[in-house]
Subunit: 428 residues, 2 copies
């Protein structure tokens, strides 16, 4: 409960009260003003919240922040076919000669994911037995599916079981797709060894050359990322290829790291990649999207961990601070980041991208769909509608997954209620 | 962007790297371990995120925190009648002789809210021309509406136009309802003068005596709360009646305070109430719910401000720190807090309550409904299901309000896209 911090702050406040509130003048401090002081007031006691407002939040409401946004969502055209055809984990979007390109995990199987009952042809999860697919669009709404860009390789090679969660790098005129490469069966909650592999091409339309040797491998035994390098996400920053990833250890349980993220860097897209000494560099998030912003790097951190649903920024690409809290950020976002590889120290931000949705509010075992998100995390647009907070869900949200009380939970709640509900103290 | 903080932290990290990473031994620091160190490691460089993980987040994942929870929602029985009958802003729930009681804003008018076209009988907003209603339940799911508990008073008295957002105090065996009391027309975004008034009774079933003189008035000219005392919320803490409220000034615009909250205290339920010198004590939130927790006070802070969607805790009821980030917290929650008035320094927390939902994802002008929420913010239950994060919305959420791109916004996005979308730099 951070008692020490609080106690110290409280002490300071009490001292401030003593100094400003109960002086010989007998003057109580004036009320805090309606007009927000531009800098932290030093002439009155401040609550912890008002101290944070200046120290942590820069004295600004959400709407005044470049890196605050609401998100809006739109259904896409061109991805209608479903029936055991799942599309998820869209890459960043690259525009070449006016055409938008996206790559994603595509799973087209004869049956739905079956968890532990998976076989060589029945997938375990939504991202099992998948290949890397490619689609193009002229407007970002209507997409033409181009089919498989990178097919999973032959037996014995990492990726033979499934390749998934691709992301794209453009480096010296060539194209590089990084993706998770599983050799073995991948069940929903298992921690199977997963390195990152790469394929390259001279054009966004391929053909793609699959590099059989993984380029980023999990850490050594005991390391925080010793089982998995997931969700590889490359940008160019400070002259280097910065590939962000979500790591996971083999070990499971509350005493082990569950959702942290790291960085590897290289000057050649085929490696070697070197892990940052600062790793982990995110303590939260899931399929984190990053983009150059001003002279640094911004990140959309979602779903998991103590800093879930925040936008963060770092001057060096490794040390990130929370800038804002956001609602309903896109899941597995792949933004259109025209300067993702510019490395020019002048990141302009993003206005839209693709993401995936698990239609029934599940995650691991269902068909996913791709959707478009719009936002204002850009220095070049003015969109008041996206700077609003106080966003209220409709009843479609509350009475569907993951917010429904199932029968098992209902029984537990009834039993708990019987146990802990008493008459309100003081009404006897 | 808090450059100073980051630069200092980065500097410390670089120094740490120099010390631990590039010493005469030539040893690179080991990878961060899979098993989370119980205390902040001092023998290796730490990213800003890992420093925060220990300094701000207590070295704990969400599931390990008493004050982290997911929320689940259930439709209620007994409130079916709709058709210009809006129910919202449920009070804390009080249980007396085995029966649960709740009070709420009830608006039963002949026509829906009409904003600026309101008249003496046509409401402006969802909470206009309302009275305080009362319902009882034996199980928390099926409610019996008891009708109006407190009716708005005669002309000339604060509350004549509307009384709304009630909350309940039990003090020395008597019952006190506090509520917003508008004398004038209240339009959706106006900042009309609004004090808090009170009614009292010997029993939760009334009859209620309306006190004509408001008990808490807005601040003086220039103060942060000079227009409105909204969402009054009383608990007993440290021997005093602590009434939390959302304040707002008359002044509107980005340079003025928009969503902060304060505290008034008293030792008599009818006042006088004294404002805390620390006010504002929340920099974020909307209809904040509070409850005694351990020796302090916990708060569910939602919807608005830089710290939206957090659970906070304070040892003194005035200086709050963020404990966790939550998803989809209840709107305008009224929890069942059996020890809300116990003042015994041993708050046990909450497991359920009522909230309101604006069914179409709107806020100001639609009929609202009451729903039940369940959670685990209690020291007395063990509910693993509520300690989960990684909660994914279904497509019902993304393709409904407030996440839909309307026609006007679609045009703006199309215009922006034409202006700012370029070919990806490096693909020429």
């Amino acid at each position: 409960m951070k008692m020490k911090t609080i106690t110290l702050k409280t002490l300071i406040c009490i001292l401030a009260l003593a100094l400003f509130g109960f002086t010989g003048k007998g003057a109580e401090p004036e009320s805090f003003p309606a007009k927000l002081p531009a800098t932290k007031p030093s002439d009155r006691p401040l609550s912890s919240a008002m101290q944070r407002f200046y120290d942590e939040w820069d004295g600004k409401e959400d709407y005044a922040k470049d890196l605050y946004t609401a998100f809006k969502y739109t259904r896409l055209k061109g991805f209608e076919e479903r029936d055991n055809f799942s599309r998820r984990d869209p890459s960043k979007i690259v525009r070449v000669k006016g055409v938008y390109h996206v790559w994603y995990t595509g799973r087209k199987t004869d049956s739905p994911p079956a968890g532990a009952n998976a076989t060589d042809t029945i997938p375990a999860t939504d991202w099992d037995l998948a290949d890397i697919w490619h689609a193009t669009s002229k407007d970002g709404y209507v997409w033409e599916e181009q089919g498989i860009a990178v097919k999973r390789p032959e037996s014995g090679v990492y990726g033979h079981r499934t390749i998934c969660t691709p992301d794209i790098l453009v480096w010296k005129g060539k194209y590089y797709l990084y993706f998770q490469a599983y050799k073995e069966f991948t069940h929903p909650w298992g921690q199977i060894y997963c390195p990152v592999s790469v394929a390259y091409a001279d054009s966004p339309n391929g053909p793609w050359t699959f590099v059989k040797e993984p380029v980023v491998r999990p850490g050594t035994s005991g390391a925080w990322d010793n089982a998995k390098i997931n969700d590889p996400y490359p940008i160019v920053f400070n002259g280097r290829i910065c590939l962000y990833y979500k790591g996971a250890p083999v070990e499971r349980g509350h005493e082990y790291i569950t959702r942290m993220q790291g960085l590897v860097t290289a000057t050649d897209p085929l490696g070697p990649f070197e892990k940052s000494s600062f790793n982990p560099i995110f303590n939260s998030g899931h399929e984190t999207a990053l983009f150059p912003f001003k002279a640094g790097v911004a990140a959309i951190v979602s779903l998991d961990g103590p800093e879930k649903n925040t936008i963060q920024w770092s001057p060096d690409g490794e040390n990130f601070e929370i800038v804002s809290h956001v609602m309903a950020p896109p899941i597995a976002p792949g933004a259109f980041v025209p300067d993702a590889f510019a490395g020019n120290g002048d990141g302009r931000g993003i206005t839209w991208g693709l993401c995936h949705i698990n239609p029934d509010g599940g995650g691991a075992t269902n068909e996913s769909i791709l959707a478009r998100f719009d936002c204002d995390l850009s220095l070049d647009v003015e969109r008041d509608e996206f700077k609003r907070s106080n966003l209220r869900f409709g009843d479609e949200t509350y009475f569907n997954n993951p917010f429904v009380v199932d029968e098992k939970l209902r029984r537990q709640i009834a039993a708990d209620q019987k146990k802990v509900d008493t008459d309100t103290i003081g009404t006897e």
